[in-house]
C-alpha cells in the first residue's frame, strides 16, 4: 500500500520536475508581453527580435514573447489569462480573431493592463490602440516609387494584381494611380489579374510582355504575382529589360533579386513592427502618452505615429529589400 502511494508521488514529481527551473523574476522591471498568432513563425520571431531591441534601448523592460501552438483564438485567450494572472504591465497582441479575444483583453484592461494590437488588429473595445505596419496611401506610393526608381527616363509599367475583387490590392492600386502624376514620364499601360494563382499570374505576365514590347516594369502588389512575374521575365530572357517589383516575401524573392529580375521590392519589416509596438506599449503603460484620437506617440528610431479616429496608427512606408539586405532577411520570413 505504501509502495503504491510512493509510486504515485514519483509519477507526480517526475512530471513536476519539468516544471521547475524558472524562478520569480524581478518585480521592478516593466513587463511587456508580445503575444503572437502562433509560436515558431519566422515573421513573429523577427518581431520579437525588434521588441528585444526596443527593450534594450529603454532599459528596465522585460519582454515576454508568447503565443499559442496553433493559430486559434481559444489558445490566445489561455495565454492572455495567464498574462493577466502574472500582472504584466502591457500586452501587445497580433490577434487570431478580432472579436473572440476581445472579452479577455477587456478584462486585462479592467485590471490595469495596457493593451495594444499590432499587425492583426482587435476590435475597438478590446484594445487601446492598433498599430498597422503601413497604410494604403503609403503602400500605393511605395510600389510605384520602386518601379520609378529604376526608370530614370520614364516608360511603360503594368500592374499584375491578385483577383479583381481583392479588397487590399484594389485599394493599393487606387492609391498608386492617385500619386501617378507625381512621377512624370511613367505611363501605366495595363492592370491585369492573376487571381493569386501561380500559373495564371505567369501567363498574364507573359501576355503583358507580348502586348507591350517596350514594357519597363511589372508591379505586382501580391506575393504570388511578383514571384510568377519574376519567373516569366527570367524564362523570356528579359532580365535587365523588364524589372519586376511590388510586394513579396524575402525568403521567396531571394532568387529573383540574385538573378537581377527584381531590383528591389517591399514588404513590412517585422523587426521594425515589433520594435514600434514595444515602444508604444511602453509609452502608454508608463503614462508618457495617452491613446486618444490625434495623439502622437514617439517610437524611438522609427520616429512617431499619429492615431486616427479609431485609435489606429500606421507605422511607416513598407521596407525596401534589395541586393544589399536580402541575405539578412531571407531566412527570417
Amino acid at each position: 500500500m505504501k509502495r503504491r502511494t510512493f509510486t504515485s508521488l514519483v509519477a507526480g514529481m517526475s512530471l513536476a520536475a519539468s516544471l521547475m527551473g524558472t524562478s520569480a523574476m524581478a518585480q521592478d522591471n516593466m513587463r511587456i508581453a508580445l503575444v503572437v498568432k502562433a509560436l515558431g513563425i519566422g515573421f513573429f520571431e523577427a518581431a520579437a527580435e525588434g521588441a528585444e531591441e526596443a527593450a534594450a534601448e529603454l532599459g528596465n523592460v522585460e519582454i515576454i514573447y508568447t503565443g499559442p501552438t496553433d493559430t486559434t483564438a481559444e489558445g490566445q485567450i489561455e495565454v492572455i489569462n495567464s498574462l493577466i494572472a502574472q500582472g504584466v504591465d502591457a500586452i501587445a497582441i497580433s490577434a487570431n480573431d478580432p472579436d473572440a479575444v476581445s472579452p479577455a483583453l477587456q478584462r486585462a484592461m479592467q485590471r490595469g493592463i495596457t493593451v495594444i494590437s499590432w499587425d492583426s488588429g482587435v476590435n475597438e473595445e478590446g484594445r487601446q490602440m492598433h498599430l498597422n505596419p503601413s497604410s494604403t496611401p503609403l503602400i500605393g506610393n511605395t510600389i510605384l516609387k520602386l518601379a520609378a526608381d529604376h526608370m530614370p527616363d520614364g516608360g511603360q509599367v503594368a500592374i499584375l494584381s491578385a483577383s479583381a475583387t481583392a479588397t487590399n490590392q484594389n485599394a493599393w492600386i487606387a492609391a498608386a494611380e492617385e500619386v501617378l502624376p507625381n512621377y512624370p514620364g511613367i505611363e501605366l499601360v495595363a492592370t491585369v489579374y492573376g487571381d493569386d494563382l501561380s500559373d495564371k499570374s505567369y501567363r498574364e505576365a507573359q501576355g503583358l510582355m507580348a502586348s507591350y514590347p517596350d514594357l519597363k516594369a511589372i508591379i505586382a502588389p501580391t506575393t504570388v504575382g511578383i514571384l510568377a512575374s519574376c519567373q516569366a521575365v527570367s524564362d523570356a530572357g528579359k532580365i535587365g529589360q523588364v524589372n519586376v517589383t511590388g510586394l513579396g516575401l524575402p525568403s521567396e524573392m531571394a532568387g529573383c533579386v540574385e538573378s537581377g529580375a527584381t531590383k528591389s521590392f517591399a514588404i513590412w519589416n517585422p523587426i521594425d513592427l515589433g520594435y514600434s509596438a514595444t515602444m508604444i506599449a511602453h509609452a502608454l503603460a508608463s503614462g508618457a502618452a495617452t491613446a486618444e484620437p490625434g495623439a502622437e506617440i514617439p517610437t524611438g528610431r522609427m520616429g512617431s505615429v499619429t492615431l486616427d479616429d479609431t485609435n489606429t496608427a500606421a507605422m511607416s512606408d513598407p521596407f525596401t529589400y534589395d541586393a544589399s539586405n536580402i541575405d539578412q532577411f531571407k531566412d527570417i520570413f
Partner: protein, 333 residues
C-alpha cells in the same frame, strides 16, 4: 498478499479502503496535488483566488463534453465530431442573433442543434450499424463544413449583453457560472453512471455488447441516448464558449475533440470500453487545467505544453503497468 501466485483464490477480498487507496483516482489525485504544490512554488502568481478562478476556464467547457464522452467510450463507441458540433451550434446561434432572437431562444437553439447533431450520429451508428469512429470522422468535417459555408471568413457578433453571463458571469465571488455548471454536471453524470440501471447497462454494453443484448438490455437504444447526450453536452459547451468569446467564427473550438478524448483517457476510462469512472474524468480535467495554467504562468511555449500533456498521458498510464510487471517479476524470483 504479495507472495501468493496469481491463480490461487485469496483468503479474503481486498478491503474497500485498500481498494480505494490503490485506485486510479487516488493516483490521479496525487498527481493533481503534486502539480498544485509545484505550481505554488514555481510561480508567485499561482496562489491567488482570481487566478485560480481564471484557470478553471481552461477546462470547464471541455470537461462538460468529456463527461458524456466518457459514457460513450465506456459503452465502446466514440464521438469525434464534438468540436464540430460546437461550431455548428455556435453558428446557428450567431445566425439567430442576426434576426433578433433573445437569450432564452439562443440557449434553446444551441441545445437543439447539439441534440440534432447527436441524433444524426446516433442514427447512423445504431440504425445503419456503421462504426462510430468512421461516422463521426465524417460528421466532424460535415458539421464544421456547414459553418464554413455559412460564415466563410466572416464572424457573427452582437450577442445580447445578458447572453455574456454563461461564459463570463460569476455566481458568487470568484465562482464562475461555468464552474458551477461543471460541478452540477459532474454530480449528475456521477449519479447516472454509478447509481442507475442505465449506468450499469453502459458498462455491460462496453464489456460485452452481445451478452448485454441477450440480457435484455436494449443496446441500440442506450447507445442512441449516449450520442444524444454527447450532442447535448456539445451544445451546452457551445453556449458557454460562444458567450465567453462573444462571437462566432467557423474555426471555433478547433482540435478540441482530441483534448476531450485525452481528458477521458487520462481519467482512467478504457479506450476499448468497459471501464472508467466519472470522478476520474473530473480529476483529469483539473490535472490538465493545472498543468496548462502552471506552465502558462512560467511562459512555457505551447509546443512544450503539448509535449508535457502527451508525456503525462503516457506516463500516468504506463507507470502503474510497469510497476505491476516489475512486482510480478520480483515475486517470481
Amino acid at each position: 498478499m504479495t507472495e501468493t501466485p496469481r491463480s490461487s483464490i485469496p483468503d479474503r477480498l481486498r478491503s474497500p479502503l485498500d481498494r480505494r487507496l490503490k485506485s486510479w483516482e487516488t493516483l490521479l489525485l496525487a498527481v493533481a496535488i503534486a502539480i498544485f504544490v509545484v505550481n505554488s512554488f514555481t510561480s508567485p502568481y499561482f496562489l491567488n483566488v482570481w487566478n485560480l478562478s481564471d484557470m478553471t476556464f481552461n477546462f470547464t467547457e471541455k470537461a462538460m463534453i468529456a463527461f458524456a464522452m466518457a459514457l460513450l467510450i465506456i459503452a465502446g463507441e466514440i464521438d469525434l465530431s464534438v468540436a464540430s458540433i460546437i461550431a455548428l451550434a455556435s453558428t446557428a446561434m450567431g445566425a439567430a442573433v442576426q434576426v433578433g432572437v433573445g437569450t432564452p431562444g439562443l440557449v434553446l437553439i444551441g441545445l437543439g442543434v447539439g441534440l440534432l447533431c447527436g441524433a444524426f450520429n446516433g442514427v447512423l451508428v445504431t440504425r445503419m450499424g456503421l462504426p462510430s469512429i468512421v461516422v463521426t470522422i465524417g460528421t466532424m468535417s460535415l458539421f464544421r463544413g456547414i459553418s464554413y459555408i455559412v460564415l466563410g471568413d466572416q464572424a457573427y457578433r452582437g450577442y445580447p449583453s445578458d447572453f455574456a453571463f454563461f461564459g463570463q458571469g460569476y455566481v458568487f465571488w470568484v465562482i464562475s457560472f461555468e464552474f458551477v455548471l461543471f460541478a452540477c454536471l459532474a454530480i449528475i453524470y456521477y449519479v447516472l453512471l454509478h447509481k442507475t440501471n442505465f449506468g450499469r447497462a453502459v458498462y455491460a454494453i462496453g464489456n460485452n455488447p452481445v451478452g448485454a443484448e441477450f440480457s435484455g438490455i436494449r443496446v441500440a437504444r442506450v447507445k442512441f441516448i449516449l450520442f444524444l447526450l454527447t450532442g447535448l453536452m456539445s451544445g451546452v459547451a457551445a453556449i458557454c464558449l460562444t458567450s465567453r468569446l462573444a462571437s462566432t467564427r467557423p474555426s471555433i473550438a478547433v482540435g478540441w475533440e482530441l483534448e476531450i478524448v485525452t481528458m477521458v483517457v487520462l481519467g482512467g476510462v478504457n479506450i476499448l470500453g468497459g471501464s472508467g469512472s466519472t470522478p476520474g474524468v473530473v480529476i483529469a480535467a483539473f490535472v490538465m487545467g493545472l498543468v496548462t495554467f502552471g506552465l502558462g504562468l512560467l511562459n512555457v511555449p505551447g509546443i512544450v505544453m503539448s509535449i508535457v500533456i502527451g508525456a503525462l498521458l503516457i506516463g500516468v498510464i504506463a507507470l502503474p503497468r510497469l510497476w505491476q510487471t516489475w512486482r510480478l517479476q520480483a515475486a517470481k524470483r
